[in-house]
């Protein structure tokens, strides 16, 4: 099997998954990641379930060589990460090719890093976990609790297409960016707290303690003011994560992942789990202080953290993917949309996809399309409208395509469609009939400052255009508009950016404007992100040729050539099909 080969194991590198649970009754400890927060992010960045084996690297120095095509992410302590000779960012998913060498330096801030790969490292679990506990000789690569050693092969699967996930700097843990002079650890009082007098507790919570040399995965011994409980020992009892035990010398010990399951020293309570991630990044001579917190506050914080994590997982990572898609869709720059795209706030495709995701199931989604060319309608617009129509139906929504003749006759009977008439503002009627939850315009000519419509050659086409602009303006719901030239509905959002283009720009605005080299492609781009948001491969069965054939049979023409061909803006259908395939790969879907 392929995988990563350990060239240098560093100071201490251990396989860790979430931990070994449910085995305390036979004396097995939990193990698992000391800094759970960084561990979780390493797996989230790889799109892994939380309980996936990673490498926990203590202090640094790990060097791996890839014998696999995959990806990897490193989170946690501040460290130089090199792929071959190239320095790369932490908290980011990087593509790895077979033969690449991955080098972790020694840590600048913090003591522990997590290295994850998509699908995780593959090995046989012991007591349902791969977590390595050296003291128990359990878990890890061969099951015997060994740390990684040079020459070890860490088996994993090939991955060729993953979204370029990263955690923005603003969302990365602050304490790992800069060393804090004193780390505050919140404490839930409990266990034998009644045997610690008021004075002893005051002393404990006012003091600053130093992490001693005796700090490892079992626990952190601290040095500072001695605390004296009124009892020496107790009958050995179960110890939970973070328990603060006070032995005879009064110097507190915070018990961590590899702790003994039972013990007989008096305990004051336990450190809050979210702060254990911070403690686990400290080394000898670094300072901590304690602060009491109620169990209710602790639970509240855990719930908030969970919600924040879920939201971050769903959204923060997707911003980069959206930007990549936005850049990809204007990469040919057929009509100057690269410069226009640069003027839009990044993440427009993601915001549009979220709007559709949120609004689709709430009611009717109006999709306006149709650009008159040569007495007919062009293929750009309707193809995208049909793609969006299908996606919205799959999300449980009710799409209606709004257009004028002759496109209406082509679509009516095959799709829910509504005909708008020439020289007539029917917006009030349309809105009252459908009460839309979302209105989308894709490649619809938009009114200019004089109220007329112009094609890309500057010819007045007002007599061939019905008024969808008013529906966009008056819809009491969010609006999305897509264009590829500057004369379409929605371009009113960026009048200044269109000044340099040779086009009679539209002044009709929208809530979210999307641009692409060909408007139909924008529809596929949105659907690619909808696939990510819904975890459904919505582009999987897209057959571009079949849709073009249907439109062609009903008299469509290519918007650039004016010919009745299976093409969009002069490009063959296969180009769009290839683009859809690339979008699927970018979003992690592949055949």
């Amino acid at each position: 099997m392929n995988g990563f080969k350990v060239k240098q194991s560093g100071v201490l590198s251990l396989i860790q998954d979430s931990g070994r649970f449910g085995q305390h009754h036979i004396g097995l400890t939990v193990g698992g990641p000391m800094d759970r927060e960084s561990f979780q992010w390493a797996n989230f960045l790889c799109n892994n379930p939380e309980n996936t084996p990673t490498i926990e690297i203590t202090l640094g120095g790990l060097v791996l060589t890839a014998d696999v095509d995959s990806y990897l992410a490193v989170t946690g302590a501040k460290v130089d990460i090199k792929i071959n000779s190239r320095l790369v960012n932490a908290w980011t998913l990087h593509k790895i090719k077979s033969g690449d060498q991955i080098t972790l330096g020694f840590f600048a801030v913090g003591t522990r890093c997590y290295l994850a790969v998509p699908g995780g490292f593959k090995m046989t679990p012991v007591f349902n976990s791969n977590s390595t506990v050296c003291r128990e000789s359990i878990g890890g690569l061969n099951g015997h609790g060994c740390a990684l050693a040079s020459g070890d092969l860490l088996p994993c699967d090939n991955y060729y297409h993953m979204p370029a996930f990263y955690l923005p700097v603003s969302a990365q843990p602050l304490h790992l960016k800069n060393l804090q002079p004193v780390t505050t650890l919140r404490v839930i009082l409990g266990y034998q707290e009644a045997y610690f007098s008021h004075q002893q507790k005051q002393l404990f919570f006012r003091a600053i303690y130093e992490v001693s040399e005796l700090n490892d995965r079992m626990g952190y011994r601290l040095t500072g003011p001695a605390i004296a409980p009124s009892i020496d020992g107790i009958l050995s009892e179960g110890i939970c994560l973070g328990a603060i035990q006070v032995p005879a010398n009064g110097q507190p010990i915070v018990l961590l992942n590899d702790r003994q399951t039972i013990g007989g020293y008096p305990k004051l309570g336990s450190v809050f789990s979210l702060d254990i991630s911070k403690l686990a990044q400290l080394s000898a001579t670094e300072k901590v202080r304690f602060e009491p917190i109620s169990i209710e506050d602790a639970h509240n914080l855990l719930h908030l953290k969970n919600m924040q994590n879920l939201r971050s997982q769903r959204q923060i990572n997707h911003n980069k993917l959206s930007e990549d898609i936005e850049n990809f869709l204007v990469s040919r720059n057929l009509r100057g949309m690269q410069a226009v795209s640069a003027c839009l706030e990044k993440g427009s495709y993601l915001r549009a996809a979220r709007l559709i995701h949120q609004c689709a199931a709430l009611g009717t989604v109006l999709i306006g399309t149709g650009f008159p060319v040569n007495g007919s309608f062009e293929t750009d617009g309707p193809v995208g409208a049909i793609a969006l129509y299908g996606a919205i139906e799959k999300l449980g929504g009710h799409p209606v395509i709004v257009c004028e003749q002759p496109l209406f006759d082509a679509l009516d009977g095959h799709f829910n469609a509504h005909e708008i008439l020439f020289d007539d503002d029917t917006s009030a009627e349309v809105i009252s009939i459908y009460n839309p939850s979302l209105t989308i315009s894709i490649e619809r000519p938009g009114q200019t400052d004089n109220g007329c419509y112009y094609n890309m050659r500057g010819v007045d086409i007002s007599s061939k255009c019905a008024d969808f602009d008013s529906i966009m303006r008056k819809s009491n719901c969010p609006t999305i508009a897509i264009g590829d030239g500057g004369n379409e509905i929605g371009m009113g959002n960026i009048t200044n950016a269109l000044k340099d283009l040779d086009i009679r720009a539209s002044t009709t605005t929208c809530d979210e404007l999307l641009v692409a080299d060909i408007s139909n492609w924008a529809a596929h781009g949105i659907i690619a992100l909808l696939s990510v948001l819904t975890a459904k491969d919505l582009l999987k069965n897209w057959d571009n040729n079949a849709v073009l054939q249907f439109l062609s049979n009903n008299g469509s023409v290519d918007g650039v050539t004016g010919e009745n061909t299976l093409s969009e803006d002069g490009l063959a259908s296969s180009e769009s099909q290839l683009l859809v395939q690339t979008l699927r790969q970018m979003t992690g879907h592949e055949d």
Binding site: F21, G22, V30, V126, E136, S137, T261
Partner: protein
């Protein structure tokens, strides 16, 4: 009053600890076993782990599924039902396990000292150790390490002043009124009086250890040949003396 028989305290953000106030006894152990069985069933989905010990049960729960009020209520109910019921020390799944032990000065470096300090002969120490029926009061310290009690007062001996860096697997040892078999080579400060050839912890076996909390245990003296015949080894032990 039943509420004087136990107390429930917070241990950490997701852990509560139940203490039975009667202290160590075979009856307490039987009650703890019964409560653990009940809690495993009642808390099922919210339960992350549970640690029974001499006179306490630590319950670790999933705080995103439940809260300490609900878990406390379940604990209270289980404890009340079982403590008020006529649970006897012999109730529950309490099997008798016999562990062979090779007692000698070869296999037990502290046997002679222990005997002389107790004012007994080596054979008397062996007789006393093998004639008592022990209970597994707790499992912990290391995987498969079972704390057995109670050792006869006559041979009860405090821990060594300086713990050994390495105690061989299978060491039969005494500390105060407890006895145990070291399941693996580890540091240790108990007085070693013999070696047991039975594997006390085997991750590949099901169950992975021959004992569970609450089980009854007796030691049976065996000869050196029997010990070697059962797969015991003396080599490792001699190496660390």
């Amino acid at each position: 009053m039943s509420n004087e028989k136990f107390s429930i305290s917070i241990a950490g953000e997701n852990a509560l600890i139940l203490h039975l106030t009667d202290g160590i006894s075979t009856l307490t152990t039987a009650k703890i076993q019964a409560i653990v069985t009940d809690l495993r069933e009642k808390l099922s989905a919210s339960l992350i782990d549970i640690i029974p010990s001499y006179a306490s049960i630590l319950v670790i729960y999933e705080p995103l599924h439940t809260d300490h009020f609900a878990v406390r209520k379940s604990l209270q109910k289980a404890a009340k039902n079982i403590i008020e019921s006529r649970t006897k020390s012999s109730d529950g799944i309490s099997k008798l396990v016999t562990l062979p032990a090779y007692y000698s000065t070869d296999s037990g470096p502290d046997l002679a000292t222990l005997a002389s300090e107790a004012g007994l002969s080596i054979n008397q120490v062996i007789d006393i150790h093998t004639s008592t029926e022990y209970r597994v009061y707790a499992i912990g310290f290391a995987p498969g390490f079972a704390y057995l009690g109670e050792v006869d007062q006559k041979i009860a001996t405090p821990r060594l002043a300086t713990p050994r860096q390495k105690v061989p697997r299978g060491s039969v040892a005494i500390a105060d009124r407890q006895t145990a078999v070291y399941p693996a080579e580890s540091p240790g400060g108990w007085n070693i009086i013999g070696l047991c050839p039975t594997l006390m912890f085997d991750p590949l076996a099901t169950p992975s250890m021959p004992l569970a909390t609450g089980d009854r245990v007796m030691f049976e003296p065996i000869t050196r040949d029997q010990f070697l015949g059962l797969g015991g080894t003396l080599g490792r032990f001699e190496a660390i003396r």
